[in-house]
């Protein structure tokens, strides 16, 4: 028997994977439409109903009656299934790849058992306005999970209502606004301070809630600059909204001083805990003095990201600020669970009903599977993975981790590929796209790039040493290619679903096509133009 296996190795290490993503060259759904095909049939109306109701549509006033049927595609069921299955194959979900490249997104394994539990009809088929006595089960889950988050963060109360992280951050800004208004200082306290390495939503949500933002740049070592904070704070300060560790993975050792400076000036502090995965059971928001904090359940608590949601956000507050939390909050009187809708100082509804219950259930189940020791193992392993990766990544020529040199990082690292890129004449985005030819991806960072030619990696606790080694080898391979055959890297991806796109039409109002119908109009107009 031939030794097939040996040929997969070189010098004791596995050779790079000969990956190719599914490429179906699939038409747009509308192109599959054939007149008369049906994908599903609605249930029929009994004759007696028909007799009593009559021609309900004909009875509508003409202005309300739809004249032309909507031009939806007409496709039979197997064809619909096939189309979407093909699209799913053209999508690199976490389950398929070493997804450590989406740094700050905390891509971790979403346990399948939790998917099964959240699809039980006893969760999916209940209506939010049912009498409370018929929903005791889900209310108990919400209550218990709130208790868990209180213990993890040290906060007194949590609202599980926000739709995701940014919604919770906005909620925090809204609470700051309400608090200062009650103190009679709304006009005076118009500024919220944040840092350039906190998530853009910290600044954007503050602005959306009507504040002016003051953004601080880090000191020369990349740490949050306390002197800058002291220079920025004033009687106009409403509060602080920062992430810690920041998106670079650096923890602010003086975080408690930061909070003191803001409190001394009369402001409040919100802790953006999107990056909490590395510090569960290690340190708590309350202990650093924060008044508000949030968690992303689809990051730290393992619920799946769903292509961009549904996720879930949890917004925590001290007793002093709890009255402002969104309404309702879950109550327990020792016997029964309930909903407290009588909350006059609340900021109102952040989201419909009570929260993304499917995600909350999965997050609860995840914590219940791990327990206290499990959670601290999660964090310690995530940090170990991150620093192991840091060690190995910096061994690749041309890749560095700027700032905090000699220090360890917490949950992620923002690398700079600047030297490699300058030498090879490629960009970080090019490198990321060539990495896709090996079955992984990475995310640079939010625009604009403060760290030059960035790449942010966050291994979490879900990936094995072998996974991390494979990822590093892929990047090393791509770095070599960038030096020797830069043209290949600049025109990547080659083994992906489609080829390099031209994005200029997307910024041109005359060309952008957000729907198929818009595309057809503009396409036909331009082919008729002289």
């Amino acid at each position: 028997m031939e030794n097939i296996t040996d040929k997969r190795y070189e010098g004791g290490h596995p050779k790079p994977r000969r990956f190719h993503q599914a490429r179906w060259d699939e038409p747009i759904l509308f192109e599959l439409s054939r007149p008369g095909e049906r994908g599903i049939l609605p249930p029929r109306v009994e004759n007696e109903i028909h007799d009593v109701a009559g021609d309900v549509v004909g009875a509508l006033p003409p202005a309300l009656r739809r004249t032309e049927p909507p031009a939806l595609p007409e496709i039979a069921q197997p064809q619909v299934v096939r189309h979407y299955m093909r699209l799913s194959q053209e999508n690199l979900g976490l389950d398929l790849n070493v997804d450590i490249g989406q740094g700050t997104c905390t891509m971790k394994y979403s346990p399948k058992i939790n998917e099964r539990l959240a699809s039980m009809p006893t969760l999916t088929a209940i209506h939010p306005l049912q009498p409370l006595e018929t929903a005791q089960g889900i209310l108990e889950v919400l209550y218990r999970f709130e208790q868990i988050l209180c213990e993890i963060s040290g906060m007194d109360r949590f609202s599980l209502q926000p739709g995701a992280g940014s919604a919770a951050i906005y909620g925090a800004a809204s609470i700051l606004r309400a608090y200062h208004a009650e103190q009679g200082e709304a006009e005076q306290r118009r500024e919220i301070i944040t840092t350039i390495f906190s998530h853009p939503s910290d600044a954007a949500c503050a602005k959306t809630a009507g504040f002016d933002t003051v953004t601080l740049y880090p000191d020369k070592d990349g740490y949050p600059d306390l002197d800058a904070l002291k220079a920025a704070v004033s009687e106009r300060t409403a509060g602080l909204m920062v992430a810690n560790p920041e998106d670079t993975g650096i923890y602010n050792p003086r975080i408690a001083e930061w909070v003191r400076v803001i409190h001394d000036a009369g402001g409040l502090c919100f802790y953006d805990q999107a990056n909490a995965n590395g510090i569960l059971g290690i340190t708590r928001a309350r202990d650093a003095g924060f008044d508000l904090c949030h968690f992303n359940l689809h990051k730290t608590f393992s619920t799946p990201h769903g292509c961009g949601g549904p996720g879930a956000g949890a917004l925590g507050a001290t007793d002093r600020l709890a009255p402002y939390l969104p309404t309702p909050l879950v109550t327990f009187d020792g016997e029964r669970y309930g909903l407290d809708n009588d909350r006059p100082r609340s900021i109102g509804k952040l989201r419909a009903f009570y929260g993304v219950t499917g995600a909350i259930l999965k997050a609860y189940a995840w914590v219940m599977s791990l327990g206290a020791e499990g959670l601290v193992t999660v964090s310690r392993t995530a940090v170990l993975n991150n620093n192991y990766l840091l060690q190995r990544m910096c061994e690749i020529a041309g890749i560095e981790a700027p700032y905090a040199s000699g220090h360890h990082r917490i949950e992620q690292v923002r690398y700079s590929l600047q030297s490699l890129c300058a030498e090879a004449g490629v960009s970080s985005e090019d490198i990321g796209l060539r990495a896709a030819d090996y079955g992984v991806h990475y995310w640079t960072s939010h625009h604009p790039f403060v760290v030059p030619e960035p790449c942010t990696l966050e291994p979490t606790e879900s990936f094995s040493q072998a996974d991390l080694d494979e990822y590093v080898e892929i990047l090393r391979q791509v770095a070599d290619e960038a030096r020797t055959t830069p043209g290949l890297v600049r025109t990547a991806p080659h083994n992906s679903t489609v080829h390099r796109a031209d994005h200029t039409p997307l910024d041109d109002p005359a060309q952008w096509a957000i729907t198929w119908r818009a595309y057809l109009k503009k396409r036909d107009a331009s082919s008729q133009a002289p």
């Binding site: 933002t213 003051v214 020369k220 200029t504 039409p505």
Partner: protein
């Protein structure tokens, strides 16, 4: 909207000017190559002109569109020598003027640029360094879309691509693109003598119009600055009041404020407003001091220049230490598009007025206005305090 199944062809006329002595000094340890003397020294030391090679790299990238472009270029080492590299048939190449054997000068660059612009070209490619960009600006200003192929040692101007091959790619995309968006790029004049002595000082000496690309241009690792600059400008314009005079320093961002007010800014000079009215243009130090003697309330509006982010350098002659003392360092309003600050990353904005006491009073932290309700707090440092940090630092 282009039909996805076939694209109409776009013909483009591209100009090419190579400054064959650019980059001459770098390899042998001399910085820059301005000045005939430096050029001679460099050649003696065996320096090989880089500009032609870099230009060739760029031209090779135009192969795929060779049948759709016409090239206008200069004789011999100023372009003709590498024109063939793009695979363009010679009937589509036009040479301006006759070859000359002597060293090429700035005047040659300017003449060629003017002539090409007059003929009508879609894009002017030039290979060289900051000096070449300056010459191009002095010839065609912002009237012509241009793109630089980097061949100099250390290039500060934003009109250059991040690499020579990338310049070719960007030129190809722009030339054949169905929609050509452009933006401003600073042309900076680095004091070469100062650099040789370890101090970096850049002055704004022009603004060029370049393809609006977020990734492939120097110092442009950001989204288009249009939205940001307009927001800053509008915010500041709204705040201006008639009891105060505003001494406005050079820069594209400060120019945008004037645009918002419907006024013309002296790009490279200092202008003075009272509220929203222009009261003096392109003033010198003496005029400023005279004005200040009569005024109760004055502010200086300044924007950081160049990759290092100079607030007040030796190039800002009208806004002298005396003027700064008079106005007061806490009456300095700094405005900037956020991308400009992001490029600094952890480095501070710099001041080097020539007066140590004034430098020290400007140093510390400053609030920079970056848009409506958007303030960024940035460190300011005196150059002499950190010039060791700057030495060897790559400003890209």
């Amino acid at each position: 909207m282009t039909n996805l199944s076939s694209r109409p062809h776009h013909h483009a006329r591209i100009g090419l000017i190579v400054n064959p002595v650019a980059g001459l000094g770098g390899r042998v340890g001399l910085k820059g190559s301005d000045g005939v003397e430096i050029q001679r020294r460099a050649r003696e030391l065996g320096a090989i002109p880089q500009a032609l090679d870099r230009a060739a790299d760029a031209m090779t990238r135009l192969h795929s569109i060779a049948d759709r472009i016409e090239l206008v270029t200069c004789p011999g080492p100023m372009g003709e020598a590498v024109a063939a590299r793009c695979g363009i048939p010679s009937r589509s190449v036009r040479i301006l003027g006759k070859a000359d054997q002597g060293p090429t000068t700035a005047a040659d660059t300017k003449t060629a640029a003017r002539e090409m612009h007059r003929l009508g070209i879609d894009l002017l490619l030039f290979a060289g360094g900051d000096g070449t960009a300056r010459d191009v600006y002095n010839a065609v200003g912002e009237r012509q879309v241009v793109l630089g192929i980097p061949a100099g040692v250390k290039i500060h101007s934003g009109a250059y691509a991040i690499g020579s091959a990338v310049a070719g790619d960007l030129a190809a995309a722009f030339a054949t693109g169905t929609w050509r968006r452009t933006r401003e790029a600073e042309v900076l004049d680095a004091d070469e003598d100062a650099i040789r002595h370890g101090v970096v000082c850049t002055t704004l000496c022009g603004v060029l119009r370049v393809p609006d690309d977020a990734i492939r241009l120097q110092g442009a690792k950001a989204v288009s600055g249009k939205i940001g600059i307009k927001a800053v400008a509008r915010h500041l314009a709204d705040e201006m009041n008639d009891k105060t005079i505003y001494i406005v320093a050079p820069g594209t961002t400060t120019r945008a404020v004037f645009d918002e007010l419907g006024l013309d800014k002296t790009l490279l000079g200092v202008d003075v407003l009272r509220g929203r009215t222009l009261i003096a243009s392109d003033v010198g130090e003496a005029q400023l001091l005279e004005l200040l003697a009569r005024e109760q309330s004055a502010r200086i509006v300044v924007t950081p220049i160049g990759g290092q982010g100079y607030l007040f350098g030796r190039g800002n002659q009208p806004i002298s230490p005396e003027v700064l003392r008079h106005v007061g360092c806490n009456n300095v309003i700094v405005i900037a598009a956020p991308e400009k600050l992001d490029r600094l990353t952890t480095r501070p904005l710099l001041v080097d007025t020539g007066d140590e006491a004034v430098d020290q009073s400007l140093a510390g932290y400053v609030r920079v206005c970056c848009g409506v309700d958007d303030v960024r707090v940035v460190r300011v440092a005196a150059v002499r305090d950190i010039h060791r940090e700057l030495e060897g630092a790559d400003t890209r």
